[in-house]
Protein backbone atom coordinates (compact mmCIF):
# COMPACT_ATOMS: atom_id res chain seq x y z
CA UNK A 1 0.00 0.00 0.00
CA UNK A 2 2.86 2.35 0.82
CA UNK A 3 4.43 1.56 -2.52
CA UNK A 4 1.20 2.39 -4.28
CA UNK A 5 0.98 5.73 -2.50
CA UNK A 6 4.57 6.49 -3.46
CA UNK A 7 3.70 5.75 -7.10
CA UNK A 8 0.58 7.93 -6.91
CA UNK A 9 2.45 10.88 -5.42
CA UNK A 10 5.46 10.49 -7.70
CA UNK A 11 3.18 10.45 -10.73
CA UNK A 12 1.38 13.56 -9.49
CA UNK A 13 4.65 15.37 -8.79
CA UNK A 14 6.19 14.37 -12.12
CA UNK A 15 3.13 15.35 -14.13
CA UNK A 16 2.91 18.72 -12.41
CA UNK A 17 6.62 19.38 -12.82
CA UNK A 18 6.32 18.80 -16.56
CA UNK A 19 3.41 21.21 -16.86
CA UNK A 20 5.27 23.89 -14.92
CA UNK A 21 8.49 23.27 -16.83
CA UNK A 22 6.69 23.91 -20.11
CA UNK A 23 5.19 27.14 -18.85
CA UNK A 24 8.56 28.31 -17.54
CA UNK A 25 11.03 27.13 -20.16
CA UNK A 26 12.22 29.34 -23.01
CA UNK A 27 10.11 28.86 -26.10
CA UNK A 28 13.06 28.12 -28.34
CA UNK A 29 13.03 24.56 -27.00
CA UNK A 30 10.41 24.00 -29.69
CA UNK A 31 12.82 25.07 -32.41
CA UNK A 32 14.40 21.68 -32.89
CA UNK A 33 11.93 19.92 -35.12
CA UNK A 34 13.18 16.42 -34.37
CA UNK A 35 12.83 16.98 -30.63
CA UNK A 36 9.38 18.43 -31.11
CA UNK A 37 8.30 15.60 -33.36
CA UNK A 38 9.60 13.05 -30.87
CA UNK A 39 7.64 14.70 -28.08
CA UNK A 40 4.52 14.63 -30.24
CA UNK A 41 4.96 10.98 -31.12
CA UNK A 42 5.77 9.63 -27.64
CA UNK A 43 2.11 9.61 -26.54
CA UNK A 44 1.17 7.82 -29.78
CA UNK A 45 3.71 5.06 -29.15
CA UNK A 46 2.88 4.70 -25.46
CA UNK A 47 -0.89 4.71 -25.88
CA UNK A 48 -0.67 2.12 -28.67
CA UNK A 49 1.57 -0.01 -26.47
CA UNK A 50 -0.81 0.30 -23.53
CA UNK A 51 -3.78 -0.63 -25.70
CA UNK A 52 -2.01 -3.72 -27.02
CA UNK A 53 -0.56 -4.92 -23.73
CA UNK A 54 -3.78 -4.46 -21.79
CA UNK A 55 -5.81 -6.25 -24.42
CA UNK A 56 -3.58 -9.26 -24.96
CA UNK A 57 -1.59 -9.32 -21.74
CA UNK A 58 -2.28 -11.35 -18.63
CA UNK A 59 0.67 -10.52 -16.46
CA UNK A 60 3.68 -11.54 -18.49
CA UNK A 61 1.84 -13.96 -20.74
CA UNK A 62 -0.05 -13.10 -23.88
CA UNK A 63 -3.35 -14.59 -24.93
CA UNK A 64 -6.38 -13.64 -26.98
CA UNK A 65 -9.35 -13.29 -24.65
CA UNK A 66 -12.46 -13.30 -26.89
CA UNK A 67 -14.47 -11.01 -24.59
CA UNK A 68 -11.71 -8.40 -24.45
CA UNK A 69 -11.16 -8.52 -28.20
CA UNK A 70 -14.88 -8.15 -28.84
CA UNK A 71 -15.01 -5.26 -26.38
CA UNK A 72 -12.17 -3.53 -28.18
CA UNK A 73 -13.90 -4.20 -31.49
CA UNK A 74 -17.00 -2.51 -30.14
CA UNK A 75 -14.83 0.46 -29.13
CA UNK A 76 -13.50 0.69 -32.68
CA UNK A 77 -17.03 0.70 -34.09
CA UNK A 78 -18.08 3.37 -31.60
CA UNK A 79 -15.06 5.47 -32.54
CA UNK A 80 -15.83 5.09 -36.24
CA UNK A 81 -19.34 6.33 -35.46
CA UNK A 82 -17.74 9.32 -33.69
CA UNK A 83 -19.27 8.43 -30.36
CA UNK A 84 -18.17 10.47 -27.33
CA UNK A 85 -15.45 9.06 -25.06
CA UNK A 86 -17.75 7.73 -22.38
CA UNK A 87 -19.97 6.02 -24.96
CA UNK A 88 -16.90 4.28 -26.39
CA UNK A 89 -15.99 2.97 -22.94
CA UNK A 90 -19.53 1.82 -22.19
CA UNK A 91 -19.76 0.05 -25.56
CA UNK A 92 -16.50 -1.79 -24.91
CA UNK A 93 -17.27 -2.82 -21.33
CA UNK A 94 -20.89 -3.64 -22.16
CA UNK A 95 -19.91 -5.90 -25.04
CA UNK A 96 -17.37 -7.81 -22.97
CA UNK A 97 -19.81 -8.11 -20.07
CA UNK A 98 -22.65 -9.30 -22.31
CA UNK A 99 -20.53 -11.98 -23.98
CA UNK A 100 -19.37 -13.25 -20.60
CA UNK A 101 -22.90 -13.23 -19.20
CA UNK A 102 -24.09 -15.26 -22.19
CA UNK A 103 -21.23 -17.68 -21.71
CA UNK A 104 -20.05 -17.06 -25.26
CA UNK A 105 -16.67 -15.75 -24.25
Amino acid sequence: MTGTWAAVLATAAGCYALKLAGLTAPRRVLDDRRARRFAELVPVALLAALTAVQTAGFGQSLSADPARLAGLGAAVIALLLRAPFLAVIVAAAGTAAALRALGVA
Binding site: G3, A6, A7, V8, L9, A10, T11, A12, A13, G14, C15, Y16, L18, K19, L20, A21, G22, L23, T24, R27, L30, R34, R36, R37, F38, A39, E40, L41, V42, P43, V44, A45, L46, L47, A48, A49, L50, T51, V53, Q54, T55, A56, G59, S61, L62, R68, G71, L72, A75, P84, F85, L86, V88, I89, A92, A93, T95, A96, A97, R100
Partner: protein
Protein backbone atom coordinates in the same frame (compact mmCIF):
# COMPACT_ATOMS: atom_id res chain seq x y z
CA UNK B 1 -11.60 13.35 -24.49
CA UNK B 2 -9.09 15.27 -26.36
CA UNK B 3 -10.22 14.37 -29.82
CA UNK B 4 -13.56 15.86 -29.09
CA UNK B 5 -11.89 18.67 -27.23
CA UNK B 6 -9.83 19.44 -30.24
CA UNK B 7 -12.69 19.21 -32.68
CA UNK B 8 -14.90 21.37 -30.55
CA UNK B 9 -12.20 23.89 -29.79
CA UNK B 10 -11.41 24.14 -33.46
CA UNK B 11 -15.03 24.58 -34.40
CA UNK B 12 -15.64 27.03 -31.62
CA UNK B 13 -12.50 28.96 -32.37
CA UNK B 14 -13.90 29.54 -35.80
CA UNK B 15 -17.19 30.95 -34.65
CA UNK B 16 -15.78 32.60 -31.56
CA UNK B 17 -16.83 35.97 -32.90
CA UNK B 18 -20.44 34.95 -33.06
CA UNK B 19 -22.36 37.72 -31.32
CA UNK B 20 -25.09 35.38 -30.17
CA UNK B 21 -22.67 33.63 -27.84
CA UNK B 22 -21.74 36.78 -25.99
CA UNK B 23 -25.07 37.27 -24.30
CA UNK B 24 -24.31 35.25 -21.23
CA UNK B 25 -20.61 34.46 -21.36
CA UNK B 26 -17.88 35.26 -23.80
CA UNK B 27 -17.49 32.63 -26.53
CA UNK B 28 -14.28 31.05 -25.23
CA UNK B 29 -15.52 30.97 -21.62
CA UNK B 30 -18.73 29.31 -22.63
CA UNK B 31 -16.95 26.83 -24.86
CA UNK B 32 -14.54 25.96 -22.08
CA UNK B 33 -17.32 25.51 -19.58
CA UNK B 34 -19.30 23.19 -21.82
CA UNK B 35 -16.25 21.22 -22.85
CA UNK B 36 -15.15 20.78 -19.24
CA UNK B 37 -18.56 19.46 -18.25
CA UNK B 38 -18.69 17.07 -21.20
CA UNK B 39 -15.18 15.71 -20.93
CA UNK B 40 -15.07 15.69 -17.15
CA UNK B 41 -17.65 12.93 -16.96
CA UNK B 42 -14.93 10.61 -18.25
CA UNK B 43 -13.68 10.73 -14.68
CA UNK B 44 -16.33 8.07 -14.07
CA UNK B 45 -14.34 5.68 -16.25
CA UNK B 46 -11.08 6.60 -14.55
CA UNK B 47 -12.48 6.18 -11.03
CA UNK B 48 -13.93 2.79 -11.95
CA UNK B 49 -10.76 1.62 -13.70
CA UNK B 50 -8.52 2.76 -10.86
CA UNK B 51 -10.47 0.95 -8.16
CA UNK B 52 -10.80 -2.13 -10.35
CA UNK B 53 -7.02 -2.13 -10.77
CA UNK B 54 -6.49 -2.10 -7.03
CA UNK B 55 -6.05 1.54 -6.12
CA UNK B 56 -8.13 2.74 -3.19
CA UNK B 57 -10.85 5.29 -3.85
CA UNK B 58 -8.74 7.87 -1.98
CA UNK B 59 -5.74 7.14 -4.19
CA UNK B 60 -7.88 7.45 -7.30
CA UNK B 61 -9.12 10.83 -6.08
CA UNK B 62 -5.59 11.94 -5.16
CA UNK B 63 -4.48 11.26 -8.73
CA UNK B 64 -7.36 13.25 -10.18
CA UNK B 65 -6.75 16.14 -7.78
CA UNK B 66 -2.97 16.23 -8.00
CA UNK B 67 -1.86 14.67 -11.30
CA UNK B 68 -4.94 15.89 -13.17
CA UNK B 69 -4.00 14.46 -16.51
CA UNK B 70 -6.08 11.54 -17.77
CA UNK B 71 -3.77 9.35 -19.84
CA UNK B 72 -1.10 9.35 -17.13
CA UNK B 73 -3.70 8.49 -14.51
CA UNK B 74 -5.06 5.60 -16.54
CA UNK B 75 -1.53 4.41 -17.24
CA UNK B 76 -0.50 4.34 -13.59
CA UNK B 77 -3.70 2.56 -12.56
CA UNK B 78 -3.12 -0.08 -15.20
CA UNK B 79 0.32 -0.82 -13.75
CA UNK B 80 -0.98 -1.60 -10.27
CA UNK B 81 -2.21 -5.20 -10.76
CA UNK B 82 0.99 -6.34 -12.46
CA UNK B 83 3.17 -4.94 -9.71
CA UNK B 84 5.38 -2.94 -12.06
CA UNK B 85 4.91 0.25 -10.09
CA UNK B 86 8.24 1.90 -10.84
CA UNK B 87 7.97 1.30 -14.58
CA UNK B 88 4.30 2.25 -14.40
CA UNK B 89 5.15 5.54 -12.73
CA UNK B 90 7.82 6.27 -15.31
CA UNK B 91 5.41 5.52 -18.14
CA UNK B 92 2.73 7.72 -16.58
CA UNK B 93 5.12 10.65 -16.25
CA UNK B 94 6.42 10.11 -19.79
CA UNK B 95 2.85 10.38 -21.04
CA UNK B 96 2.55 13.71 -19.22
CA UNK B 97 5.39 15.07 -21.33
CA UNK B 98 3.01 16.52 -23.88
CA UNK B 99 1.69 18.90 -21.23
CA UNK B 100 5.14 20.48 -21.18
CA UNK B 101 4.75 21.15 -24.90
CA UNK B 102 1.39 22.77 -24.32
CA UNK B 103 2.93 24.87 -21.58
CA UNK B 104 5.61 26.10 -23.96
CA UNK B 105 2.97 27.31 -26.35
CA UNK B 106 0.63 28.67 -23.67
CA UNK B 107 3.26 30.75 -21.88
CA UNK B 108 3.04 33.60 -24.40
CA UNK B 109 -0.75 33.62 -24.28
CA UNK B 110 -1.34 33.32 -20.55
CA UNK B 111 1.54 35.56 -19.44
CA UNK B 112 1.24 34.59 -15.81
CA UNK B 113 3.92 34.92 -13.17
CA UNK B 114 4.44 34.13 -9.51
CA UNK B 115 1.82 32.11 -7.64
CA UNK B 116 -0.64 32.39 -10.50
CA UNK B 117 1.78 30.59 -12.76
CA UNK B 118 1.89 27.73 -10.26
CA UNK B 119 -1.89 27.48 -10.44
CA UNK B 120 -2.07 27.91 -14.21
CA UNK B 121 0.44 25.10 -14.68
CA UNK B 122 -1.87 22.70 -12.87
CA UNK B 123 -4.66 23.59 -15.29
CA UNK B 124 -2.74 22.56 -18.41
CA UNK B 125 -4.49 19.65 -20.09
CA UNK B 126 -5.33 18.59 -23.61
CA UNK B 127 -8.67 20.33 -23.28
CA UNK B 128 -7.64 23.66 -21.76
CA UNK B 129 -4.80 23.88 -24.27
CA UNK B 130 -7.10 23.07 -27.16
CA UNK B 131 -9.54 25.81 -26.18
CA UNK B 132 -6.86 28.42 -25.40
CA UNK B 133 -4.80 27.79 -28.53
CA UNK B 134 -7.88 27.95 -30.75
CA UNK B 135 -8.59 31.56 -29.76
CA UNK B 136 -7.58 34.43 -32.01
CA UNK B 137 -6.39 36.76 -29.21
CA UNK B 138 -4.59 36.40 -25.84
CA UNK B 139 -7.54 37.76 -23.81
CA UNK B 140 -9.89 35.21 -25.31
CA UNK B 141 -7.27 32.50 -24.80
CA UNK B 142 -6.98 33.36 -21.10
CA UNK B 143 -10.71 33.40 -20.65
CA UNK B 144 -11.09 30.06 -22.43
CA UNK B 145 -8.25 28.51 -20.45
CA UNK B 146 -9.68 29.60 -17.10
CA UNK B 147 -13.19 28.41 -17.91
CA UNK B 148 -12.00 25.03 -19.16
CA UNK B 149 -9.72 24.55 -16.17
CA UNK B 150 -12.46 25.39 -13.66
CA UNK B 151 -15.24 23.31 -15.14
CA UNK B 152 -13.08 20.35 -16.15
CA UNK B 153 -11.26 20.22 -12.81
CA UNK B 154 -14.51 20.18 -10.85
CA UNK B 155 -16.29 17.72 -13.11
CA UNK B 156 -13.34 15.38 -13.53
CA UNK B 157 -12.78 15.15 -9.79
CA UNK B 158 -16.43 14.71 -8.87
CA UNK B 159 -16.81 12.06 -11.55
CA UNK B 160 -13.72 10.26 -10.23
CA UNK B 161 -15.28 10.03 -6.76
CA UNK B 162 -18.52 8.64 -8.16
CA UNK B 163 -16.75 6.16 -10.45
CA UNK B 164 -14.41 4.96 -7.71
CA UNK B 165 -17.14 4.43 -5.14
CA UNK B 166 -19.47 2.89 -7.71
CA UNK B 167 -16.92 0.38 -8.99
CA UNK B 168 -16.00 -0.62 -5.46
CA UNK B 169 -19.55 -1.82 -4.91
CA UNK B 170 -19.92 -3.77 -8.12
CA UNK B 171 -18.15 -7.01 -7.27
CA UNK B 172 -16.16 -8.88 -9.91
CA UNK B 173 -14.78 -6.37 -12.41
CA UNK B 174 -14.68 -8.90 -15.23
CA UNK B 175 -18.42 -9.50 -14.96
CA UNK B 176 -18.97 -5.90 -15.95
CA UNK B 177 -16.26 -5.86 -18.58
CA UNK B 178 -14.24 -3.34 -16.58
CA UNK B 179 -10.99 -4.97 -17.69
CA UNK B 180 -11.70 -3.56 -21.16
CA UNK B 181 -12.11 0.01 -19.87
CA UNK B 182 -8.35 0.66 -19.89
CA UNK B 183 -7.59 -0.54 -23.43
CA UNK B 184 -10.75 1.12 -24.79
CA UNK B 185 -9.78 4.40 -23.12
CA UNK B 186 -6.26 4.29 -24.55
CA UNK B 187 -7.61 3.48 -27.98
CA UNK B 188 -10.05 6.39 -27.81
CA UNK B 189 -7.20 8.66 -26.75
CA UNK B 190 -4.95 7.66 -29.59
CA UNK B 191 -7.72 7.61 -32.21
CA UNK B 192 -7.52 11.22 -33.41
CA UNK B 193 -3.75 10.92 -33.72
CA UNK B 194 -4.10 7.92 -36.01
CA UNK B 195 -5.85 10.17 -38.52
CA UNK B 196 -3.07 12.77 -38.29
CA UNK B 197 -0.78 11.02 -40.74
CA UNK B 198 0.97 7.89 -41.88
CA UNK B 199 3.87 8.50 -39.51
CA UNK B 200 1.47 8.41 -36.55
CA UNK B 201 -0.04 5.12 -37.68
CA UNK B 202 3.40 3.63 -38.24
CA UNK B 203 4.58 4.69 -34.81
CA UNK B 204 1.43 3.26 -33.22
CA UNK B 205 1.81 -0.14 -34.91
CA UNK B 206 5.53 -0.29 -34.14
CA UNK B 207 4.95 0.78 -30.54
CA UNK B 208 2.30 -1.89 -30.02
CA UNK B 209 4.50 -4.55 -31.64
CA UNK B 210 7.51 -3.67 -29.50
CA UNK B 211 5.44 -3.76 -26.32
CA UNK B 212 3.83 -7.10 -27.16
CA UNK B 213 7.14 -8.69 -28.13
CA UNK B 214 8.77 -7.49 -24.92
CA UNK B 215 5.92 -8.45 -22.57
CA UNK B 216 6.97 -12.09 -21.98
CA UNK B 217 10.60 -11.22 -21.32
CA UNK B 218 10.64 -7.88 -19.49
CA UNK B 219 9.12 -6.86 -16.13
CA UNK B 220 5.59 -5.34 -16.22
CA UNK B 221 5.51 -1.72 -17.36
CA UNK B 222 8.91 -1.78 -19.02
CA UNK B 223 7.61 -2.93 -22.44
CA UNK B 224 5.38 0.14 -22.60
CA UNK B 225 8.29 2.47 -21.91
CA UNK B 226 10.40 0.60 -24.45
CA UNK B 227 7.71 1.38 -27.02
CA UNK B 228 8.86 5.02 -26.99
CA UNK B 229 11.67 3.80 -29.26
CA UNK B 230 8.97 3.76 -31.95
CA UNK B 231 8.47 7.50 -31.42
CA UNK B 232 12.20 8.05 -31.76
CA UNK B 233 12.22 6.10 -35.02
CA UNK B 234 9.25 8.11 -36.26
CA UNK B 235 10.86 11.44 -35.37
CA UNK B 236 14.10 10.56 -37.10
CA UNK B 237 12.38 9.17 -40.18
CA UNK B 238 9.95 12.05 -40.66
CA UNK B 239 10.87 15.04 -38.51
CA UNK B 240 8.04 17.18 -39.82
CA UNK B 241 8.14 20.78 -40.93
CA UNK B 242 10.62 23.27 -39.51
CA UNK B 243 9.48 25.47 -36.63
CA UNK B 244 9.15 28.59 -38.77
CA UNK B 245 6.95 26.95 -41.33
CA UNK B 246 4.67 25.58 -38.66
CA UNK B 247 4.16 28.76 -36.71
CA UNK B 248 3.04 30.52 -39.85
CA UNK B 249 0.26 28.05 -40.35
CA UNK B 250 -2.04 29.60 -37.85
CA UNK B 251 -3.17 29.64 -34.29
CA UNK B 252 -5.16 26.44 -34.31
CA UNK B 253 -4.29 23.74 -31.84
CA UNK B 254 -3.11 21.53 -34.65
CA UNK B 255 -0.16 23.80 -35.36
CA UNK B 256 3.15 22.79 -33.83
CA UNK B 257 2.72 20.59 -30.82
CA UNK B 258 -0.99 21.13 -30.62
CA UNK B 259 -3.28 19.16 -28.40
CA UNK B 260 -3.95 15.93 -30.11
CA UNK B 261 -3.54 12.75 -28.29
CA UNK B 262 -5.35 13.45 -25.40
CA UNK B 263 -5.87 12.17 -22.28
CA UNK B 264 -7.20 15.12 -20.91
CA UNK B 265 -7.63 14.92 -17.57
CA UNK B 266 -10.00 13.57 -19.79
CA UNK B 267 -7.71 11.70 -20.72
CA UNK B 268 -5.43 13.83 -19.46
Amino acid sequence: MADHAEQQARADGQDGGDGRRRRVLSGPARDGLVLGLAVGTSGLAFGAAAVTAGLSAVQACALSLLAYTGASQFALASAVPGGGLIAGTAGAILLGGRNALYGLRLADLLRVGGPRRLLAAHGITDESSAVALAQPAPAAARSGFRATFASLYLTWNLATVVGAIGAGRLGSPQTFGLDVVGPAAFLALIWPRLHAGRAERGVAVLGAAIALAATPVLPPGVPVILASVAALAGALAAPGPAADAVSEEGTGPEAEAGPQAGAGPGRQ
